[in-house]
Amino acid sequence: MGDVVIQVEELSKVYRLGTIGSGSLRQDLARWWNTSVLKKDDPFYYPQLSENQEPMDKNQKAFWALQDLSFEIKQGEVWGVIGNNGAGKSTLLKIISRIVKPTKGVVRGKGKISSLLEVGTGFNQELTGRENIFMSGYILGMTKQEITAKFDEIVDFSGIEKFLDTPVKRYSSGMYVRLAFAVAAHLEPDILILDEVLSVGDAEFQKKCLGKVKDVSRSEGRTILFVSHSMQAVSNLCNHALWLQKGRLMEAGKATTVINNYIKGVKKSQLHRTWDNLVEAPGNEFVRFKSIRLTPRFSEPDAPLDIRTPLTLEFEFWNLVEDQDLSIGLHLFSYGGECIFDVPSPSFQCKKGLVEGECTIPGNFLNDGSYYISLIVVKNTSVDLFYYEECLSFEIEDYRGDIKWFGKWMGAVRPSFPFRLEQKELELV
């Protein structure tokens, strides 16, 4: 630890919307003729940004994917890169992976970099699993010896040994992803760059991958840079985080702090959602949600939503199949991604049509902070029909009454249990 392995200095990247030139030689020649030969004003005249930059469109069609980014990453650190869509996360990873050139600024570093921006890079549908392991390995920068040495491990991790000599076009998508990730997981770079790759594949495999990445970072001291939309994954995996917004660095530092600030700054409470028709409603051929609403039961009309407020979750959904035995599970997550509780409803024989339900989270139970709710619809108390993830989100303010201490209140929940404290005996000191 301690040694800086990646140093990013005033990194900027400009994309011109549209393409370089006009994409047609005739127009580019006409422009060159007008400006260079006739010395006329260019109809596409771009003012120069500075001496070493490409000309810019005067209609401000330039798009700063990254703007003046500076940070340092030390050896063995695991960094999560978070931010909204279009914040520049992928651009940053692409620059560090040497796929695109920055417009300005430098990245300096030490050690071998491998990046995994997509699952299955270099895979060819026609080739067999075995051939694709080699192909993909080579493209990701492994040598023949490395792949040969790890071959059995890769096959083992992917669990497809039976289909090793079958063209991957005959694989199921799950097998394809498993094999592709297995190759990538056995790369041995000093710095590993991952872009949202864990968002594919089934839950079990995701867990396996996450576990593998964790192992790699912990035991082998790799430096990892990881982009994800899942705060759960980032907070699970990373000790540091980088928050980008519209190409600018908002904050870099300890993962928990940055994630909390990101959530505060970006995520808004969403207390109710309704859908007017079946087509737009979330769900599948079995059930579709019509409305989900979280109603605070305030003791007085304009009280804040704080830890004392009971919250009632009301929901309606369309049951699309006659006579199903359904139950609903309410999953409450902290924004860090930890599940606080999982409360199932009793099961209920539903006729085709609209079904409603509600559940109340009592006051004086949750700690202050941001939460989100996921709802799961289960058939016969055993088969998952539909999991609606992160359907609502809300924030609970702190309330401490007479307590004069203002530090962060610990714990996932803050229930008010009966507590007794009394004087037993008087003794002279």
Partner: protein, 287 residues
């Protein structure tokens, strides 16, 4: 204090906005040699997997072309092939031209065809044209074998006397030079076609025209003296003539024309690799 500063300043690599003409890194290319080999292998597998005749398709094209040329140019129009049997004359031209044509066309659209791959992973971009050339050398090998077989057939059954010339040792060199010329032109056009889509038409059309300026269908000494310079301006001309001279014993070559071609090819190669390196990193934003 000083020491620690020295340690942290010792970077192994640096990424910045500058693009250079001389960014050729042979060490890096060597590291990725297995990728090249397996790309060649892949091309081969993909082309001939699930086909009936497999690589024999490579022989069908030159044989059919040969038949057409013999019929049209020799029998109908009556283009002289000098003292050589027309079959050997045309086949030698077709095989070498195919090699040039395929190397050039295979390299010309690299950025277009691999945009998806290039935008997801870094490896030296030059690997792709190099593997491409590997594939073409392999295909050429098969067609060249056909030519040798035909030569043997003529020597054994048609009383054709094989020329024995020390020039035969130059054959590998000529083949490599023709390949490199195709590669260099292809590299330049790969950059251009990535930027301008309308050039694609020009490339396919232009290469067909170029064939008529190359002694594929006629010997150079058949060209009238006053326009011969047009053909000799084409650097491929002396390669084709040398190829035929070495193999069949007939062809017009001179040290000047060979020197011109050699210098042309080498300069083109250096320039094209430079352009490819310089533009390669930028193009990914455009394609």
């Amino acid at each position: 204090m000083l020491e620690s500063k020295e340690v942290t300043n010792h970077w192994e690599w640096e990424i910045n906005g500058r693009t250079r003409y001389w960014g050729l890194n042979l060490h890096e290319l060597w590291h990725y040699r297995h990728l090249s080999l397996s790309l060649v292998r892949r091309d081969f597998l993909l082309n001939y997997q699930q086909t009936v005749l497999g690589p024999f398709w490579l022989l069908v094209q030159p044989i059919l072309t040969l038949g057409t040329y013999v019929l049209v140019f020799n029998k109908l129009i009556g283009v002289s092939t000098g003292s050589l049997p027309p079959v050997l004359f045309y086949l030698s031209g077709i095989v070498l031209w195919n090699f040039f044509n395929d190397t050039f066309m295979g390299t010309s659209f690299i950025f277009r065809e691999n945009a998806q791959l290039f935008s997801k992973v870094y490896f030296p971009r030059l690997i792709i044209p190099i593997s491409q050339m590997g594939t073409q050398i392999f295909r050429f090998g098969i067609q060249f074998t056909l030519l040798l077989a035909m030569l043997a057939f003529y020597a054994l059954f048609k009383n054709y006397t094989l020329p024995t010339s020390f020039l035969a040792v130059t054959l590998p060199l000529v083949i490599i030079l023709v390949g490199l010329t195709g590669l260099s032109l292809g590299l330049i056009f790969s950059v251009v076609t990535a930027k301008y889509r309308d050039i694609i038409n020009l490339v396919t059309f232009g290469v067909r025209l170029l064939m008529f300026l190359t002694p594929v269908l006629y010997p150079v000494n058949y060209v009238p003296e006053n326009v011969r310079w047009v053909v000799q301006f084409n650097p491929l001309t002396s390669y084709f003539e040398l190829f035929r001279r070495a193999l069949l014993g007939q062809g017009v070559i001179s040290p000047e024309s060979l020197g011109y071609s050699l210098v042309f090819t080498l300069i083109l190669l250096v320039i094209s690799i430079g352009i490819f390196n310089k533009q390669g990193d930028k193009l990914i934003d455009v394609v």
